[in-house]
Every structure is written in C-alpha cells, then in structure tokens.
C-alpha cells in the first residue's frame, strides 16, 4: 500500500498598525522609536476615571482596508472589551471587536510563481473571514529578575485581518503576505514593516490526508517575525505535523512558537489553557453607524491596486512582465514611471531605466536601513524622460546615457546639461565620420577581410574601433551605414 499523502491547510491572522496621527482613543500621538513611556496620557495608562474616545481616522482607515479588499462594511459596529490580565495592557482589558467586526468577508489576490521569472504566474483569490479594529498593547522587555514595560505602542489602532483556512502551501502564505502588504502600503494604511512590528502574523496550520474534507488538528504558530519567517515556520510545521501522523502519532490543538534561529517550533500552551476573555460591549463607547455616503467618500480615496496596475502597465504601455514585477509593488515608483512616460516617447525604455539603473542607484545610495527612499533622490521623472529622449533623438548613444546616469542621479543635473558640459553629444557629422571609418578600414584589414568573407559579426569590431576613436560619441546608426557603404565599394 502506498504511503498516505498529506496536504496542508493554513489560515493567517495578520495584525497591521493603522498609521493614524493620534492613538485610537485619545489625542496622544501615535509613533515609533520615542523614549519609553512618553507617548502616554491618563487614557493610555488606564488611570482611574480616564475614558476612551474613538479616533475617526482609525475607523476611516479600517473602512478603506475593507473596501480595497472587497469586504462588506458593517453598517453598525460596536466595541467590546476582551478581559485578561497581562502587564502590557494598562487596563487589563483590550478594546476590540468581538461579534460585530467593521469588515466581513473579502479576499486577497495572490500571484504564485510563474514558469520563469519573466512570465506572470497564476493568480488566485484567498478568502478573508473578517477584519476588525482593536487597540495595540504595550511592549515588555524581560530581564533575569524583572521585566520592563513601555506603553508607547499601547492604544495604537491595530487591524486584525483574518483569512479563511484557504492557503495550501508555504509559497501561498508568502504570496499572500506580500500581496496584502503591497496593497496596504499602496492605500497608505501602514508601512507594514514586520521588523518594526507594524505588521505581525500568526498562522493556523493543519494537515490532512489528501481527499479528506474535514480539517486536521489546528496548531497556532506565533513569533513569526518576517514574511520569510512565516514561510519557514509554516514549512517546518507542515513537515513536523506530517511526520507525526506518518509515524502513527496524533497532534494536539495547541499554540507553538517558531524559533527562527534554530528553525523549529516549540509548544507554548495547549487548548485547555485557553483564556475565557469574558467579552462584553464596552459601555464607555457608543456603537458607530456607517452610512453609504461615508463609504462612498472613502471609496473615492482608494488607489488602483498593485495587480490592477500591473495588468494595465502591460496592456497600456506594452511593458514586459519582467519590468512590471519590480515596478508594481512600489506605488511611488509606478507614479514615477507614469510621470516619466508622460514626458517621453518610449515607455519600455523608461521602465528599463527605472527598474535597472534607478533602483541600482537608490540601492547603492542607501544605508543599513535599506535603499534611499525615492522621495529623497535628486533624480526626477524629467531627468529620466530627458535621457530617454536624448537617446531616441540620436543626440547621445545609450552607452553615453548609461555613463551619465549615475552623475544625473548624484547631482540632479539635467542629462542635456551634462552632455553639453562634457561635450558628449553624439557625432553625426558624416564627413568627419567617413574619414575616421576609412582610417579604421585601413587599420583593420583582418576584420575587413572576414566581413567581406561573409562573417557579418566582424563589422562590430570595426564599429568598436570607430566608437573608440570618437570616444563613444559617434552615432552608431550612422557609423553602421558609412562602414557598410565603404566596405561595399
């Protein structure tokens, strides 16, 4: 009898910090990296008598997320207290949404790997269960004999995006998180930096024999701190569960912790230790009514989503998939691209400059935090467009363009100015070029012979000599014409 085949079923709970100006229930600023316990007030600290007041911006951002992921927006949503004792939570209850979340349903479009990197992979829509809004907790730092708590993060608005058990491989998990992050960054909800805790993910993983409908025993994975970490943790957990079952063992419903350095999971707590959170509606807060006009107003603010943009770029500008895949996850870069295209004639060339040269320069101008942000660069769409146009007009060769790109990037000087200052303008003076070409033909009898003998490529050697003699400024098209003319004589 052949060995039973198992398949994995995964659901994700993703927490995303909504980037609002103030915290969820008070006017204190929301932020990251401030000295401990400075972003606090009586409400954040849960002092006697302090009361929460709902942040309008947090609600609007939640509605926005719901709309861009195709959720049904609740017409009335309410706030519940989730009661449990933990020192990171000043009130010992978290204001959350229990049975009336702000968004229901929805889906996240994902792209799986294509046959090669140059080919678009298959797309699929992963179903969401719900999205709700809740307050974040503080941050604990543990030492040998004591722990310190910082409430700067406490009370920041946090979106919990819960998927259905509708993911079936670590790669799908990776694709889901990437796509979700791109969409949320696009819409200005959050920077979704997992290392800064702006996006956090727990995974519910189970395996079942292929063909079985019922889900297997669910294990919740925690401490998945990067998108790759989630993929690795899920991959390990699938293998662990599969081997336990193959060896005839059974699984327990539990929470396990991913240890990214040693790359394995360890049990944290079992189902029997699960909390009773004693949810009840928060009497300090009124339910929020959301009407159509409000929803429509927010709908107007939703930008084109990354995959939609990618499809449009391919169709409208004729870009190859390989140009769109580095471009489209980054909205700012896409905007840069379209602003460039508006000023030049060749979208494909514009895209090439951006995804190859511009990204390379940004990366080398960056630091350990990452590449230089596009907004800080001196290079603008006008620069790239001018470069494309100069090549297109034949004023400079593409080699010269490549050469001056870094200087344009570093100084912000317009390419035409650099060309002028350095005298790099392409030579299209037929008389001068004919003289040089004749000289090269005389100097390179071997190449001439080969070419005449039918070796087409041999002409490249001659061209190279001409370019060398003109310090690259000869118009290559013209050189080709003149050489062929002279050689045919």
């Amino acid at each position: 009898m052949s060995e039973i085949q198992y398949e994995a079923v995964i659901g994700l709970e993703v927490h995303v910090q909504a980037e609002t100006r103030s915290k969820m229930f008070t006017r204190v600023a929301r932020g990251f990296g401030e000295p401990p316990n400075t972003l606090t007030d009586p409400v954040v600290l849960g002092l006697p008598g302090a009361l929460p007041v709902m942040n309008l911006e947090a609600i609007e951002k939640s509605i926005k997320v719901g709309l861009l992921l195709g959720c049904e927006i609740a017409r009335v949503c309410k706030w519940d207290r989730k009661n449990y004792f933990y020192p990171d939570m000043p009130k010992n209850y978290q204001i959350s949404q229990y049975d009336q979340p702000i968004c229901l349903g929805g889906e996240v479009e994902i792209e799986l790997e294509g046959e090669t990197r140059a080919v678009m992979g298959p797309h699929r829509k992963v179903k969401l269960t719900r999205i709700h809004l809740e307050e974040d907790v503080g941050k604990l730092t543990h030492y040998e004999n004591d722990s310190l708590v910082d409430y700067n993060r406490a009370g920041s608005p946090l979106l919990e995006i819960v998927s259905e058990p509708d993911l079936f491989s670590p790669d799908e998990v990776f694709a889901y998180l990437t796509s979700l992050r791109n969409s949320l960054v696009y819409a200005g909800i959050s920077d979704c930096d997992m290392e800064k805790g702006q996006m956090r993910c727990d995974a519910n993983v189970s395996v079942r024999p292929v063909g079985q409908k019922e889900l297997g025993t669910k294990v919740e994975l925690k401490n998945l701190n990067t998108i790759s970490g989630v993929r690795n943790g899920v991959e390990y957990e699938i293998q662990r569960q599969t081997s336990v079952l193959r060896e005839g063992g059974s699984l327990t419903q539990e929470t396990r912790r991913w240890n990214p350095d040693q790359r394995y999971t360890t049990a944290m707590r079992s189902k029997e230790m699960a909390h009773d959170y004693r949810y009840f509606p928060d009497p300090d807060l009124m339910p929020v009514k959301i009407d159509d006009a409000w929803i429509e107003r927010i709908r107007e603010e939703i930008p084109e989503m990354p995959f939609d943009k990618q499809r449009r770029f391919i169709e409208q500008y004729g870009l190859p998939y390989s140009s769109t895949s580095p471009l489209c996850p980054d909205k700012e870069l896409c905007d840069f691209f379209e602003a460039t295209v508006a000023r030049c004639k060749d979208p494909k060339k514009a895209a090439n400059w951006i995804v190859n040269d511009l990204l390379r320069e940004l990366s080398s101008a960056g630091d350990e935090e990452g590449p230089m942000p596009l907004g800080n660069a001196k290079m603008t769409p006008a620069h790239v467009a001018e470069l494309v146009n100069l090549v297109e007009e034949g004023s400079i060769s593409s080699n010269i363009a490549k050469e001056i790109f870094p200087e344009t990037f570093a100084t912000g000087k317009m390419p035409a100015q650099i060309v002028d200052e350095k005298g790099l303008k392409q030579t299209s003076d037929t008389g001068e070029l004919e003289t040089i070409c004749s000289q090269v033909i005389t100097d390179q009898p071997k190449a001439v012979e080969e070419f005449k003998g039918g070796k087409e490529n041999a002409i490249n050697a001659l061209k190279g000599q001409v370019m060398k003699a003109t310090r690259g400024q000869a118009n290559p098209k013209l050189v080709d014409e003149i050489l062929r003319e002279l050689l045919s004589q």
Binding site: G49, V53, P87, R278, F280
Partner: protein, 488 residues
C-alpha cells in the same frame, strides 16, 4: 455674621460675597474651622488640603476685587467624593489599593467647577469604589450619620451627604450608580440628585459601572442643587457617553415652571417593605402636592421587582472589568509577598480590595463567563430595556414620578453589614432610575419620631432636569427640611 457662614446655603454665600458681607477667605476659614471641630465625630473627609483651599479662596477674592468674578459659585466651597479626580490631590476610592495614588489630572466636572470659581476642596468618604449603601465599606473607617452618630449616613456617597448635613461644606459632589447620591441624601436629610445619564461628564470619575455612573450634587436646598448642576453639566468631548445638549438655566427654571403637574405614583413602589414612618412622611409630602392643585395619577412600572437583580448583574459585570486596572503593576498597592507575576495580581488585589469589592468582582466575572453570558448579562440587558420602557410609558401619562427614596430611615452601624441582600434592598427605589438612565432627586420631607430624616424621591424624564427640579423645589421652598441641621 462670619460665625455662622457654615450654616448658609450656596445661594446665600454667593449673595454674601456679592454684597461684600464676607470674603471667600472668610468662608474657607469658616468651613476649615467647622470641619476641624466636627469631623472627628462624623468622619466625612478622607483628606483635606486646607492650604490649597485657602489659596483658591484668596484668588477668588482677588478676582472679585478686580471685577472679574465668575458668577454665583465664585468663592463657594465644593467638596468631592473621593472618586472624582483632581490634579495633585489623592484619589483613594476609599480603597487600600489606591492608598498612595495622586491624580495627575482634573475630572471634567472639576475643570468646570474651577472655571466657575468654586473652591474645590477635600476628599469625601465613601463605600470602597462606591460599592455599598452605608459607607461602612470604606478601608479608612466608616462615616457617621450627623443626626445620630451610631447610625450610617447611607452610601455610597455617605461622606458627601454627611458633610453637607454637618455643615462642613455647603455643596458636595457624589456619584450615583444605583442610588449612591439619593439614598445617603435621604438618610442625612439633605438634597441629593442624580442627573440623566450623559448630562454630566464621567471623565475623571473612577468607574464603578460605566453604563450607570453619574456625578451629581448634594446641597441643603433644591435651589443650590440647581446652581451646582448648571455648573457641572454639559457635553464633554472626552466622554463618548456625554450627551450633546444645551444646558438650561436650572435656577431660573425653578420659578418658571409652576405646573400644574400630573404626578405619578407607581403602585409597585408603595407596597410592602416600607417603614411606616417613612410611608407617613412621604404620603404627607404627596398630599402637599395635591393640596397645591397638582394631579396625582397612579402609574405602573411592572418590571420593578427585577430592577435589583438586573442591576447586580450589570453593575458587577462592568465593575469586574473596570477594576481590573488596579493590578499592583503600576500605581496601585503591590503586595510585598508577591514572588511572581501572577502573585503580583492576586496578592496585591487580595490585600488591596475589601470584601464587598471582591464579592462584586467575582460575581461580575461569573456573569460574563463563557456559557453564562447569555443567561445573565445579555438577559439583564434585555430586562433593562423593559425597565426603561416602563418609565417611558409612565411618562406618557405624567410629568414626574414621586416615591420614597429609601424604604427606611438611617439604620444602625453594623446592622446590615453581614447581610448583603438586605443592604442591596436599601436601593430598591433608586436602582431602576439608573437602569432607565433618567434623573432623580431626593428632597428631605421630614423626620421620624427618633429625629431621623426621610427623603422624597422625584423622578423626571431624560434630560428634563429643569422640570424635575421645579417639582422638587415647589415642595422644598415651603418646607426647607434640608435647612435644619443637628447639634454636634
């Protein structure tokens, strides 16, 4: 004249100040002297900052000298129940767990009082976290009823009621969750009023049960209550449950509204269990209204008998969550015996909370527990809606409702301490008013043969405090039982 300043009402003190017959400093001195003389017997205050009181008085006099008086309350003392935050002052809620806590901010009601120029002074005793009906549940010793020191002042705002009754303050603020203002007002022979839920901001009031708590005034007369209510009411953007509505001129409303009124007598409130003397005094007050040409109408509030159980499910559930923040981690008492994180919670709370608080937290957590929520909390909320509808139906027939405030006059210290149920029943006439979210006021309506005061409760419609106060004032202005005070 200055010798008797402490006897005066807030309205009279305002008049003295306006006429230049007394300064705010003289008034403050008079109340400090009075409190120093009698509070050893009454124990209304948990804490007094006399220095700050006199400094405020001095600033008030300076304002007045510069022609910048802020009105009727400028220079008039107001003392606070020790659950209302005032910047730089302790807030203990009469609990060991908050013994060393000093509030870093002002409650909205305190901000408004300061803006009105009132001299905000002193922290008044209560049942721990406002849980109780006798002020015996204070971790820092019981308050005594000024009319009979062997008896309780009622509760939970017993200190606020006793301070006015003993003339240690002309005005005080309390909080009322199930009768915690009206019942002690009744037992101490002063006026005490609970506004409509949402009329006075709860920001800065240490919460007991958030959906029921309201801050309200104590005074000798209904007129004074109108003055104080006007100062503390109004929409507050810091309290989501605060109602956006105009604050009428309550004092003017006392004389503008003359009736004749239709006054409802709920049959369920006049059944068994009321002390005969209480019954007689309340009946006399009701007869007064009839004699004055107002119409008496019997009404029915069928869900009345469910009010106490519904209240104890909802109030304790909310309390179990509201009091979770007192955990020994930050500003509260931390047990020295704690050896790990769980110990910090359990031992700190075990040592810091009194018996009644623990009882209610456990009861409340039980009612919210998985598997019990529908049977207790959800069901109680549904019944609460029915109770509110009972009142709405009654108010289609009548302008205000008259009832006894408390079924008995002040009881002896210790008499009900071991019997929570009989203690809970002290609030049987006041609790449904909180559940319905409507206003109620207790007005002194005479004394028993033993010389103990009794209160008449006037219940009004939501946000119609003005009319309710006028009904109460119609009786109070001719009887003035709240002007009497005991020898101490």
């Amino acid at each position: 004249m200055p010798d008797s300043l402490h006897e005066k009402t807030a309205a009279e003190l305002g008049e003295c100040l306006a006429q230049g017959e007394a300064s705010a400093v003289e008034i403050a001195d008079a109340f400090v002297a009075r409190a120093t003389a009698v509070d050893e017997k009454v124990h209304a205050f948990l804490h007094r900052d006399d220095e700050d009181f006199l400094a405020q008085a001095k600033r008030s006099d300076e304002r007045r000298a510069n022609g910048q008086s802020r009105g009727a309350l400028d220079g008039v003392p107001v003392a606070l129940k020790d659950v209302i935050s005032m910047k730089g002052q302790p807030l203990t809620a009469a609990s060991r767990i908050l013994e060393n806590y000093v509030s870093p901010y002002d409650a909205t009601a305190v901000v408004k009082l300061k803006e009105a120029g009132a001299l905000v002074w002193g922290r008044l005793n209560l049942d721990e976290f406002a849980m109780g009906s006798s002020t015996e549940n204070s971790a820092f010793g019981a308050t005594h009823n000024p009319w009979d020191l062997s008896r309780v002042p009622g509760g939970s705002s017993g200190g606020s009621a006793a301070a006015v009754a003993a003339r240690q303050a002309p005005l005080t603020l309390g909080s009322d969750t199930g009768g915690s203002i009206r019942q002690p007002a009744s037992l101490c022979g002063v006026v005490g009023m609970k506004p409509t839920y949402g009329m006075v901001s709860r920001y800065g009031l240490a919460a007991f049960a958030s959906s029921l708590d309201q801050i309200g005034p104590f005074s000798q007369t209904v007129e004074d209550t109108a003055i104080l209510l006007g100062a503390i009411s109004g929409h507050d953007p810091l309290d989501s449950t605060s109602y956006p509505t105009e604050v009428p001129d309550y004092r003017k409303g006392l004389t503008e509204n003359q009736g004749p009124w239709k006054l409802g007598l709920p049959k369920e409130f006049f059944g068994e269990g009321i002390d005969d003397e209480v019954r007689r005094l309340v009946d006399e007050a009701i007869a007064f209204y009839q004699a004055e040409g107002h119409e008496l109408v019997e009404v029915s509030l069928p869900q009345t008998e469910l009010a106490v159980p519904v209240y104890y499910v909802i109030a304790t559930a909310e309390a179990s969550s509201n009091l979770a923040r007192y955990d020994g981690i930050r500003y509260t008492h931390r047990s020295e015996r704690a050896e790990n994180a769980i110990d910090v919670y359990s031992k700190s709370r075990g040592e810091g909370f009194g018996e009644e608080v623990k009882r209610r937290c456990i009861l409340g957590a039980y009612g919210l527990s998985s598997g019990y929520y529908d049977a207790y909390y959800l069901r109680a909320q549904k019944t609460r809606t029915l109770i509110r509808k009972d009142f709405e139906a009654a108010f289609e027939q009548v302008d205000a409702i008259l009832t006894p405030t408390s079924p008995t006059a002040a009881f002896k210290q210790g008499e009900r301490s071991d019997d929570p149920i009989s203690m809970y029943l002290s609030d049987v006439f006041t609790i449904s008013v909180n559940l319905a979210g409507i206003p109620g006021i207790s007005v002194p309506c005479g004394f028993t043969k033993d010389g103990l005061p009794v209160g008449l409760q006037v219940i009004g419609q939501a946000f119609k405090e003005s009319e309710m106060l006028a009904v109460a004032h119609a009786y109070d202005k001719t009887h003035q039982f709240g002007r009497r005070y005991p020898e101490l």
